[in-house]
Symmetry: C2
Subunit: 633 residues, 2 copies
């Protein structure tokens, strides 16, 4: 399982994550996928245990169990931020040959260790695992979000339960003064919505009410004590895929995560096509705005239903999107973003209500949009930088958000530089003959054996959902090209080799090379040997060119940034691959294709949906949110 | 014309308004009405004179020509605030035997004085006058509003015309930054509405635009230079009558004034009845809110049409109303205002858009509501205090806003006390048998001659519109009772004397006493001697009782306030009668009926629609508006 001389246990120790221990940790080569089967225990209000729920998730190998859970909305106790110090993220790996760390020994007795108990932040998922998650023991005062960022909970959304004295002729204070006098650590402002309800709610609830506050705006009063129920939704508003995470902002716990295609897709696969569409027909802006709103609204409805919470108790949403997605969601004309000299209407989006975006949550729920650095380094990147802590880390790190528009940020600990590369839709399955997004039926992992004999498979495919392959997603595309280069069927220029050479180089695979029309293709999935090439799932010569264009754009981006700071490839201490695609990319294939600098795969980490993580941080901490401002200066 | 020993020229001089001069000023006895016929000259954009317009107005005697013009939306140059110092309020009284003051002599040559030129702030309208108003000479930097208050113009609504550099690749500032950098004396905040328009307007207008600002909110950008067009509407939102004044906030000039009955009337004549209606049926609050909005919207439409301006160029409204009217207009439940311990939801109304009230003006026009002192001393009184400058005046003054709910404020120069008296609807013609509001056909002035002989009229009526009398308005009611007391037909307890006594006391009037059912009445207008009493316009015994209740409530109010400060009647240096009714009350009758302390009528001044004046001040000066705050503390 080793990646050869590039890898050593010392590397892992240098990352500060795992202490060498008796058992050699099982490492990975940066390819493939692992399945984690979670059994999640939880307690009802009174403390009684309720039947556990089951969740299966699929992540790239090497991700920690804690991160895999967190990305998928599964809450595990933690206060230290995944550094192995709080000893709270206890999980039990069933039947697992999982390495034992120094921290495990301090946390568990030998019987527990034998039963599989480990600290979740130290267990790398290198193979399929069954994981048991105990009930949350405390309402944490802090939560772990982003890339191991420990955030002290101080959400913009606050609830305060108060029991007030009724008015008398001797105490004719106004209803509002009565309430705000009881919450004198905040300078509250009441809007019309709350003033319309205030007197009725106070009297019907015998002056025992919960004030709902966002920042210093009193947005509602609810009868009785509802302070345990305060929720918010973090959105990663991508050009292709939109992800929503429902958070309990009182505990920092993610309650549900879901994603779907941006409903703006029919207007074009990338931002430029959508901007062009608004320039062609002036009604299109309104339709794109509605489509964005409908996407967010559908996701909001789904996460609330999944978690079984009342949408009216969602008081804030945070949205991380690129400058075009942000403009379109707000109904702001994106035309100046699409034509030279590429200017934004405003770097700082206005404060709006979620209802103005078409979301049916609390009627006065606020929508926070991340500010942008420029027309092509948008709020999603600012959110991602917040999530990765790039502004606080002294290491030299390269952050690449791989997507239709690919954003690249380099930090040497002092200076932060950023750029954007128009990679096109290849990574999200667009403009690829058999391209599809990462959904059931998509080939995401490919292994080729050029000399397979007899019954040995020459082509091994990893397919999402373990169903009949229907197409090729972005990570499958990168894998396919990397494997074809490795076995020699693609030459150094990216051209498929002639049939004669193929027979010599890779006898077991040569019959997979075919032609559709004038174009050469490599058949990845051929149901029967007689299936017509056009009926197969294949990689075409043009697909290879698309990936080359995308790779060229990205590598030009980070090469320029490295040059600007006078750095070499080897100076980069960590590469974070972000975005819903980047996180699921085979790191080995990414290195082989030149998408990232040539480094050991262990220095290349899947950062997950960092834009979404940044949005979660903004919801959980007004201090972190305020931290997005200096990034702009 | 003298009022006897109570009056002397020294009194006038003490008021600081008129210098004794060669011609004895013609004074008045506080009764009746005078008609002023204005001929208003104005200039077109280029400076060419346009045909003059004619306006007739009807005011109580003693009001200055300047005030009479101002109350009716007729603009006269002035910067000093009516103190005779700026010498700008030049008018020409046609054929007038109008006193000449020291200031007139300094301002005009003898030929001009002979032609009738005078300073308008020093001419008291004691008889019908024809007045010529010259065109405005300057865009004033200050305006006179309220009760002779001089206000330096600094409206919340500002316009700034800017010519910006287009964006280039070397200057990729956002559109918003480009605009706000050019207006760097303000910290502007842009809302979504303006961000949606900004990029299009900038480019279509070649980057030459006018920023529309309210406070520090950028609410719009308009193509080209529209800075000359900025308007606002001041509303006096009364329980019975609502008055709207359209202002050019750039010059402080009132452009149009109009009034109408509050459309909430069908729900009850006074605030308690309307509050009760909301308690009976929970849909009523919404209907009252709509009615208030519809009233304001209709007035707004009328003043814009009258002045010929585009409602979309009205960027702010200010609304002075009592606590109940304010709550109902905002859709806030008024129930706690109507039941002990009488508390408001909030003293400070929230900031809202005019559109939220149902007004179709600029879509982001703001609505400013005055804050309130208490459940029964509302924003209208705070506005009135601002207008009268009570917070700045060292004199002992009593301010009485006569209306359905009567508010009374006493200041001795240091301390300000206020109270409210539920006077009932008598003053606005409600609950009076032949009552009507002050409209065409309403008897407003009554003179009785108890010993008229032959053709001499025993009853002389002043009727609004000089038409056939249809009913009795508030000032007519007060006049009728005062006259009946004076001639002896009402005894000191307010009872109509027996028929036998009447024949002795007032032979010419005795046949006017009649009965309708069991109730005694005095026939004010009897078309023919044979007309049935019930077909006449009359004053009934019960009407007298209604006025007595109202008077008792009011005089109890100011008596308590005087006692609290240890003052006597004679210590009061000025009584200001405010409200659309108070201003038109006969001061002599008010004294005779005990509505106000027993003082010379010259110390009793009609203050006009002070709530409306306060609203105008708030629109013209953010400094004055801020002055409303300390009044609350």
């Amino acid at each position: 399982m080793s990646d050869g001389p590039d890898f050593s246990l010392a590397d892992v120790a240098r990352e500060g994550l795992i202490e060498p221990s008796g058992a050699e940790p099982a490492n990975h080569d940066g390819t493939g996928r692992v399945d984690l089967a979670f059994t999640i225990h939880s307690l009802a209000e009174g403390g009684a245990e309720v039947p556990p729920t089951q969740r299966g998730v699929r992540v790239p190998p090497g991700v920690t169990v804690f991160d895999a859970a967190s990305w998928n909305g599964i809450a595990i106790d933690s206060t230290c931020g995944g550094h192995g110090t709080c000893h709270k993220c206890k999980i039990r790996v069933e039947g697992g040959q999982v390495p034992i760390t120094r921290h495990d020994v301090r946390t568990f007795n030998s019987e527990q260790i034998a039963q599989g108990w480990r600290l979740g932040c130290l267990v790398q998922a290198t193979r399929n695992l069954a994981v048991e998650v105990p009930p949350l023991t405390t309402r944490p005062k802090a939560a772990t979000v982003g890339i191991g960022r420990q955030v002290i909970l101080r959400p913009a959304v606050q609830k305060r339960y108060v029991e007030l004295q009724e008015a008398t002729l001797a105490d004719q204070r106004t209803d509002l003064a009565r309430l705000t006098d009881a919450i004198d650590d905040l300078e509250l402002t009441a809007d019309l919505h709350v003033l319309r309800r205030l007197s009725t709610v106070l009297r019907e609830a015998d002056f025992k009410v919960t004030a709902v506050i966002v920042d210093e705006d009193l947005i509602d009063v609810e009868p009785g004590d509802t302070s345990a129920h305060r929720y918010a939704i973090a959105f990663d508003l991508g050009t292709t895929t939109v992800v929503g995470t429902l958070l309990d902002v009182g505990t920092g716990t993610p309650l549900a995560v879901t994603s779907m295609l941006n409903k703006q897709q029919p207007f074009g696969g990338d931002v430029i096509t959508r901007i062009s569409a608004t320039m062609m027909d002036k009604d299109t802006l309104g339709r794109l705005q509605e489509a964005a709103g409908a996407t967010l609204a559908e996701l909001a409805g789904q996460v609330c239903r999944q978690a079984g919470i009342d949408p009216a108790q969602v008081y804030e949403v945070a949205i991380a999107g690129n400058a075009t997605m942000t403009a379109l969601a707000l109904g702001i004309d994106p035309e100046p973003l699409g034509v030279a000299p590429f200017v934004m209407t405003s770097a700082q989006p206005p404060s709006v209500l979620a209802a103005e975006l078409g979301l049916t949550l609390h009627p006065r729920a606020r929508a926070f949009f991340f500010p942008a650095l420029g027309a092509y380094v948008g709020g999603d990147i600012v959110a991602g930088m917040l999530a990765t802590g790039m502004d606080r880390d002294k290491r030299t790190r390269l952050f690449i958000d791989v997507g239709t528009n690919c954003e690249i940020v380099l930090s040497d600990g002092d200076t932060i530089l950023s750029t954007a590369a128009p990679a096109g839709p290849a990574f999200e399955g667009g403009a690829i003959r058999c391209g599809m997004r990462a959904a059931d039926g998509a080939i995401e992992v490919i292994k080729l054996d050029p000399t397979a004999l007899g019954d040995e498979p020459a082509v091994t495919l990893g397919v999402i959902g373990d169903v009949e392959p229907r197409g090729l997603c972005g990570s499958g595309l990168v894998d396919a090209v990397a494997e074809l280069v490795r076995v020699g069927l693609l030459d150094s220029s990216g051209r498929m080799v002639p049939d004669e050479s193929a027979k010599e180089i890779a006898p077991a695979l040569a019959d997979r090379l075919a032609k559709i029309g004038e174009e050469r293709v490599f058949l990845l999935h051929r149901p029967t040997p007689e299936t017509e090439p056009a009926e197969c799932v294949y990689l075409s010569q043009r697909d290879v060119r698309e990936l080359q264009f995308a790779k060229a754009a990205i590598s030009t981006g980070w090469t320029l940034l490295l040059e600007q700071l006078g750095l070499e490839h080897r100076d980069v201490q960590q590469v974070q691959l972000a975005g819903s695609f980047g996180s699921y990319l085979s790191t080995a294939s990414a290195v082989r294709n030149g998408l990232v600098p040539k480094l050991t795969v262990l220095r290349i980490v899947a950062a997950g949906n960092v834009a979404g993580e940044g949005a979660k941080m903004a919801l959980l901490s007004v201090r972190e949110r305020a931290g997005a401002r200096p990034l702009l200066e």
